[in-house]
Structure formats: C-alpha cells, structure tokens
C-alpha cells in the first residue's frame, strides 16, 4: 500500500495527514507529538535549520528566525541569515521537509502528496508552492484550494447524507477564503471561490501590537521596542481575548514594569475593518454564484482564527445563521487534503477499505480563475484601437471545458501574432490588471490582407492542465502551449540551493 499524504502549508501553522489503512483521514504528529507545526524557520550559528515550535519561541526576537513567509509566496522578498539569502519558496521547503521527515518516521516512505493553497493565490504563488514541495523531496501531483479540501473533509465526516449549498469560511493565519459548494450525497461541486490574500490571524496580531504600543507610549512616554512585545506575545494575548473579556499584559523593560489592559471590545474595534473585508468577500462570493444568503444551508468554519468570537458573530451576521465547525478548525484542511490525494491516486494504490471510504466523495471541480488572451479592439470612448483582455474560460466553468473564439489579423501583410495567455480573478478587459501566464509569437505568411481568421482554443483538462492553441486558419500554422493553470502536474528535479537568492 502506498503512503499518500495531504499537507496544509499554513501561514502560521502547517499540518500533515494521511488516509489510514481503514480509510480514515488522520493527522500525523510531528517529532514533538503535536498535530500542527509552526511555520517558522530558524537558522542557528551551528548551521542547523530548525523548524517548528523551537523556532517559534524566538520568532520576532532572533533576526535569523523567519515566519509568515507564505504571505509573500512567489514574490521577490528576501530573507538573510549568515550571509545566505532565502525566499518564501526556500523557507517553505524547509517546513515541508520537516513535515515529511516527521511523518515518514511514522508511516514510512511517502509516495505521493497533495499540498493545499489559498483559493485566491495567483499563478506565481501556486508555482512557487509547487517548487517548494518538490524541493523538499515530496512527489507532488496536485495542489488543491484550502476551502475545497475543507469541504471535502466536511462532506466525508458528516454523519448524515448532505444535500444542499454550503459555505466554507476559512480564516487562517495569513489568508481568508470563502467557498460556496453544493453537496448532493457523494457529489461535491465547488460553485464559487473567493478570498483575500492578506487577511488572517497575523493581521489581528499586528493590530493588537499597535494597541499595546499606543498604550505603552501613553503610559511610559516612549516607544516600545519590538522585542518587548513580539508577535508570539500578541498571538497569546489574542487567544486570551477569545476566552475572556479583558486581558492584562505585563511588560518589563529597562524602563520598568508596566501593566497594559486591553478589552475584547477594544481589540474587536481595532480589527473591525479587517473583518469588513471578509464580509464583503463573502457577499461577493454569494453574488457571483447567483445565490442569496437564504440559499446557504450551513456555514462551516475552518482555520484557527475562526475561534475568535467576533469572527463567529460576523459570520452569523452575514449568513444569518449560526456557523458550525468541523472537528478541529486547524486540522480540517490537512484532513481534506489527505482525502483528496487518495481520491486522485491510482485506485490500485488503495486497499478495499480506503476505496470504500472514498466512494463517499465525488468532486466536480471548476476553474478558479478567468483565462483569456490579449486582442486589439476599437475603443469607442478614445476612438482608437486599444489592447484589451478577452476572456475565453470563465471562473467557475466546470472542468473539463474547452472554448474556441475567432479573431482576425489587424493589418495588411501582418507577419506575426503576439499570442498571450492571461489569468485574472475577476473578468477584466484591461491588460494592466491581468497576469500574463505565457507569451509567444506565431509567425504568419507574408502578403495577406488584414482580416485573416485566427482561432484561439483554450482547453482545461481534468488533470488541471490547460492547452492553448492559436491557429491561423488559412495557413494552418499554429502555436500550442501546455500550461499548469494552477493545479499542476509539473515534475522537475529541484535542488533547494536553487531557491537561495545570489
């Protein structure tokens, strides 16, 4: 039997789960015996890379200790320790390696893995996550959106047969996702997904730090040094405020020992604009799915930040119903990913009990983005031809899907077309607001008048790859490209050193 694992690579905590021999998704503990591992990496002066709880203890105090790097996945931000430079991809690969190594001591060699990502991730961040997974030595065939994984676990773990429309509200340490799913018995269909890339517990911690610093200045008359009230301290106080109406923080510095009191109401007011973002995202997700609040049967909470009372109140206010949790909100995504990796695996790799368990789920997937191309189009307002993004595949189209659109060459004797494949979270006509996934030229025969037909076909396949073809109809010349379109089946030999920035 193969060892298949699902990994929730989180902003503040990560987790790994697998499908056990009886077909149940179960968490795999780390070397400290915990189900979740802090996504924090410490480089010590002995040349060791320390990941997890030990590193977390000095996060915010030691300049060689890094966390929250998932928030800049795929970006150019650099982290430096002992002369070496790292980025979010390389740091994430250390976290994934720790999860993998700890899991392998329990279940043996891991043969396949799925890593989860925020639904709102752009292609660069998705590719960077895949690169990190491959660099850690994991064999990754698929990645899955975090709320989809949570929905899968919810559908699986519910004791009764589900029938209706559900909202998965996933507020973690760094990102917020909302997914609207339809479940009919074993059939799960993701209707719509939306999210905010920079919204999570880490932002709430920052607000708490702001309050503390402000009160400190009022009391002491000087600025509070960052190491005197760290992110770890803020997270701890935030948890207290989820349990109590008030917290009393004792801070000792060279300026003396002072007590700062913060009420829950005070904290909630400070984070209310952040919560407003999640509320608007929920409303938009429902609108885009052409549903109303009353169409949502249940709201499921996922992610550690959903433990905060004000989050639960906000969800109740938006959806007009009391939200539910599915098991431990920190673990649902990893458990769902474990189900997904088995669901996608070769059935020959599963035992009869595992196959039986997976018969409870059947996922109909949809595209998470708009995919289009750039064309020249006459603009009535400015009375000239302007570049415009034209969508072929729409967000929420059921996979597999294929769309062909016909365009024309713009000029006489046009000898090439600049072919571009774009992605965007919303339908965008402005090329400045879309991400170009691929760009290349298609050479055309000389000496032809304008108006030559060019057929563009985007085919999004079940294995989450997208084939794009630009065909000059008259000559038969074409440009073809296979793209990963997010959920990739890329296999590359990657060395961790490749991700250190020179």
């Amino acid at each position: 039997m193969s060892n298949l694992v699902g990994i929730d690579l989180g902003t503040t905590y990560s987790a790994i789960a697998h499908l056990d021999a009886t077909g149940r998704p179960v968490m795999l503990v780390n070397s400290q015996g915990d189900n979740i591992t802090p996504s924090v990496v410490l480089f010590d002066d002995q040349g060791n890379v320390i990941v997890g709880k030990t590193a977390q203890r000095v996060y915010g105090e030691d300049s060689k200790c890094f966390g929250r790097f998932k928030r800049v996945m795929g970006e150019e931000k650099e982290y430096e320790a002992f002369g070496e430079k790292y980025n979010a991809t390389s740091l994430s690969s250390f976290v994934l390696k720790k999860l993998k190594d700890d899991a392998q001591t329990q279940i043996g060699e891991i043969s396949e893995a799925v890593v989860t990502i925020p639904a709102n991730y752009g292609n660069k961040a998705r590719e960077a996550t895949l690169a990190a997974a491959n660099a850690s030595g994991l064999s990754i065939k698929y990645i899955i959106n975090e709320p989809t994984a949570a929905a899968l676990y919810y559908a699986y773990s519910s004791g009764e047969e589900l029938n209706g429309t559900y909202a998965i509200y996933d507020l973690g340490g760094g990102t917020f996702d909302i997914s609207i799913i339809e479940i009919k018995g074993s059939d799960i269909e993701v209707i719509n997904t939306d999210g905010v890339t920079l919204l999570g517990g880490d932002d709430f911690d920052e607000k708490l730090i702001e309050i503390v610093r402000s009160k400190w200045k009022d009391q002491v008359g000087e600025d509070l040094e960052p190491e005197d009230f760290t992110k770890n301290d803020a997270e701890e106080q935030k948890k207290i405020l989820s349990e109590k109406e008030k917290t009393s923080i004792k801070i000792a510095t060279t300026k003396g020992r002072h007590k700062i009191e913060i009420s829950r109401a005070e904290f909630e007011d400070a984070i209310s604009t952040l919560i407003a973002k999640s509320e608007m995202t929920c409303e938009n997700a429902i609108d885009e799915a052409n549903l109303s609040i009353t169409d949502i049967n249940e709201v499921i909470l996922v992610g550690g930040s959903t433990r905060m009372p004000c989050i639960q109140s906000s969800v109740e206010k938006i959806f007009k119903k009391v939200p539910k949790s599915v098991g431990n909100p920190d673990e649902a995504v990893a458990l769902g990913a474990a189900l997904y990796v088995a669901y996608k695996a070769d059935p020959a790799k599963l035992n009869p009990l595992q196959k039986q368990a997976l018969s409870k789920v059947n996922i109909a997937e949809v595209t998470a983005k708009f995919f289009g191309t750039i064309i020249l189009s006459y603009d009535d307002h400015h009375q000239k031809n302007l570049l415009k993004n034209d969508s072929l595949i729409r967000k929420g189209d059921k996979i597999p899907c294929s769309v062909t659109k016909e365009y024309q060459t713009a000029h006489d004797n046009q000898t090439a077309i600049n072919c571009r494949v774009t992605e965007s979270n919303i339908e965008e006509s402005d090329p400045d607001y879309v991400h170009t996934m691929w760009e290349g030229a298609l050479d055309l025969p000389e000496g032809r008048p304008s108006g030559q037909k060019v057929e563009v076909t985007f085919s999004y396949h079940v294995n989450q790859t997208m084939k794009c073809t630009f065909l000059d109809v008259e000559s038969g010349r074409k440009a073809e490209i296979d793209l990963t379109a997010g959920n990739s089946n890329i296999h590359t030999d990657i060395d961790i050193d490749d991700f250190k920035v020179e």
């Binding site: 752009g122 965008e428 879309v434």
Partner: protein, 391 residues
C-alpha cells in the same frame, strides 16, 4: 464585415451578344443612386458605357469621392475602404476579364455602401463628386490623397455628382474645433493644478509637456507657432485668473465658464484627452488630494463623460502614484474611492462592495510593489467605508 458590398454581376455588351440586343456604346459613365432596397442611408454606385479596352484584359474599377465645393477628398471611417497610406476613401471592384469593344449597355450596380462610413470635410448638405477609374489589374493605379499617380494607367475615367447631407462634423470642422479644444483644455488642467490652492512645479511641468506633445502633432511650422502662442496664452491667462481670486477660493465654483467654453468645441475624444491631462496633473506631485479627486468627479459630470470609463482612468492614475494615495489624512475615503455622497445606504454599500471586488481581484495581477501597495490601500479604504456605511 459588410459596409461595402460589391454587386457587379451584370451582363456585358458585344461582342458575344446577339445583333438585336446591341446598343450603340456610350462613353464610360458613373452615378450614385439611393439604394431603396436597403436602408435610406445606403447608396449604390452604378456604371455603364464603353470600357475601352483594345484587347482582353482583367479590369478593375476604383471609386473615390470629393466634396465639389472645396475639392477636398472624402475620407473613410472604415479601414478596408481607404487608400493604403491615408484615410482617403478608395474602393476597387474586380470586373473580371473584359474583351475588346465590350461595354455596359445599361446602368449596372458596381457596389453599394453605407453613407455613415464617409467623412466629408464639413458637415451640412453637400454636392459630392463620385469618381470612377478603370484600369487593368496588370497595371494597377496608385492613389494618394484621392489622386492617381499616372493618367497613363487609367483606361477610362468618369465623374458625376450627387447631393447628400452630413449631420456630423466634417474632418475640417473637427480639425478646427480640435485646435480650439486643445487651447480650452489648458485652463481645465490649470484648474486641476490649482485645486489645492497653488500651482506646484511638478504640475506645471506636466502641462508644459502636454503642450509640447500637442504641438508635435502639427506638421506645418506656421500652424505650430500659431498653436504655441495660443496654448501659452491660455496657460498664462488661466493661471493669472486664479491668482486674482480671493484666498481660499474653491476651484469648483470658478470653473463652469471654462467648461462651458470647452464643451462648445470639444468632441468626446477631446474630453477624454482633457481628463487624461487632468489626471496626470493630479498625479504629478505623487499625491491625490481630496479637492483634486472631487474635481475629477465634477469634471466627468460636467463634461458628460461615461462614468465607468472615468473610473477606469482614475484607477490607473491612483494605482501608479509613487508616493502615497493621499498627502493628508484629511482626504476622505469617499473621495478616494469616488463614492457619491448622495447615494442612499443600500446603494452606497453596493458600490463599496463592487469596488472591493474589483480591487481585491486585481491585487494578485499587479506586478509592481507600489501598485500592489496602492491596491491594498484602496482595499483598506473600502473596508473603512464598509464599516462606516454598514453600521
């Protein structure tokens, strides 16, 4: 694409016709007639008479139009019926192989077209000349500015007139009005620069650059000098007019006559050009002040511009500002986002939600760090507005 339909399918005269059907061949002729089979705005071009070939040739017939009173060519708004290098109307129809002494004994339809694609020099009722040129496709004629490169290549030539009325401005009207509109743009840009009470150097430089670029569009040196004088005068007088106003003046209360003058001569395109300049002036100092943002909104209303298009242009400006969106904390989120304060609560929240969706969707597509930061600031502003209007 069918603005121009070629419809030659008529029979030719001798030598293959029976003797009884022969008519005396006439000279080559052309005429434009209303196409009553289709819309009233359509014309048919017809030809008849001798084709004057001395041996079997593959003939083509080109047509173009001139305004009789000014002898200016008619331009085409449709790219496929223009000369290669100009916008002057030109359309050629392949007549096929024509034998010696063959002719069209009766009027035959050569082609039909929609009048809306014709751009005359001036508006109003006009006598239009239709000119037809017969030539061999083995020895084609080249056209430039409505005129042929060689009379020797033209086998036959015909000319006729018809009268029609053009409602929209002609290209000479547009050109003259465009010059006036450019001059009238400067005081509007000055108003934008003075919206915060003073003209910054960076703002002045933006207007100067715009004037220089505008002058580059004029080929004639005389015209360039004339426009330079007018644009500089407009710059000077509009600035001094603001200086004469009492301190704490409100630009919005002193701009109506400027806009009225501009609206008299400006086309929709001129209006967007003016707004684009105003947005460049707004962004010149790296900040977007509330008075400037409100003025953009006011301008879009008074210029009767499409609000969605204005928002798109404003978004582009705001996202590219290097420093920060607002120079002072007093700039309201409403002004930044463009929220109409007259909207009721429900409509306000709907607008805020729509804008949030837009900026949140764009965030991951933006490449430059300052653009992402600015998009994030817009999201923060929208979240504050949601809190303010939602409670």
């Amino acid at each position: 694409m069918g603005f121009f339909n070629d419809i030659v399918d008529a029979f030719l005269g001798p030598p293959d016709w029976p003797e009884s059907s022969r008519k005396q061949s006439e000279a080559f002729q052309v005429q434009a007639v209303r196409d009553y089979d289709n819309n009233d705005g359509n014309f048919k071009i017809q030809i008849k008479g001798a084709l004057s070939v001395s041996y079997a040739s593959n003939l083509e017939c080109a047509i173009n139009f001139f305004d009789k009173s000014s002898d200016d060519p008619i331009l085409s708004l449709y790219e496929q019926t223009t000369e290669d290098d100009t916008r002057v109307f030109l359309h050629s129809v392949d007549l096929g192989i024509v034998k010696e002494n063959q002719y069209f004994p009766d009027w035959v339809d050569l082609t039909s077209f929609v009048k809306e694609i014709m751009l005359p020099p001036r508006s109003g009722s006009k006598v239009i000349e239709v000119r037809a040129y017969l030539y061999s496709s083995d020895n084609p004629i080249s056209f430039e500015g409505g005129y042929i490169d060689s009379k020797d290549k033209c086998i036959s030539y015909a000319i006729n007139t018809f009268t029609t009325k053009f409602e929209d401005k002609g290209y000479r009207d547009q050109s003259e009005h465009r010059d006036l509109a450019r001059v009238a743009t400067v005081p509007i840009a000055m108003a934008m620069a003075m919206a915060d009470g003073s003209l910054d150097k960076s703002e002045g430089l933006v207007i100067k650059k715009w004037i220089a670029n505008t002058l580059d569009t004029y080929i004639s040196e005389d015209k360039q000098n004339e426009m330079k004088k007018q644009l500089n005068e407009a710059l000077d007088s509009s600035y001094k007019a603001f200086l004469r106003l009492p301190k704490n003046f409100k630009v919005s209360e002193n701009i109506d006559s400027t806009i009225d003058a501009f609206n008299l001569v400006a086309s929709n395109t001129d209006k967007f050009i003016a707004l684009e300049l105003c947005l460049d002036v707004l962004a010149a100092d790296g900040f977007a002040d509330e008075t400037e943002l409100n003025l953009v909104k006011e301008l879009s209303t008074k210029l009767d511009l499409d609000y969605d298009e204005v928002q798109k242009m404003k978004d582009k400006t705001l996202i590219s500002i290097d420093a920060k969106l607002s120079s002072s904390d007093s700039t309201s989120d409403e002004a930044l986002i463009g929220l109409d304060m007259n909207l009721n609560k429900e409509d306000s929240l709907a607008f805020i939600k729509k804008e949030f969706r837009k900026w949140n969707g764009r965030l991951n597509s933006l490449q430059a760090r300052n653009e992402r930061d600015n998009a994030q600031r817009m999201l923060d502003a929208l979240a504050r507005l949601k809190k303010k209007h939602g409670s």
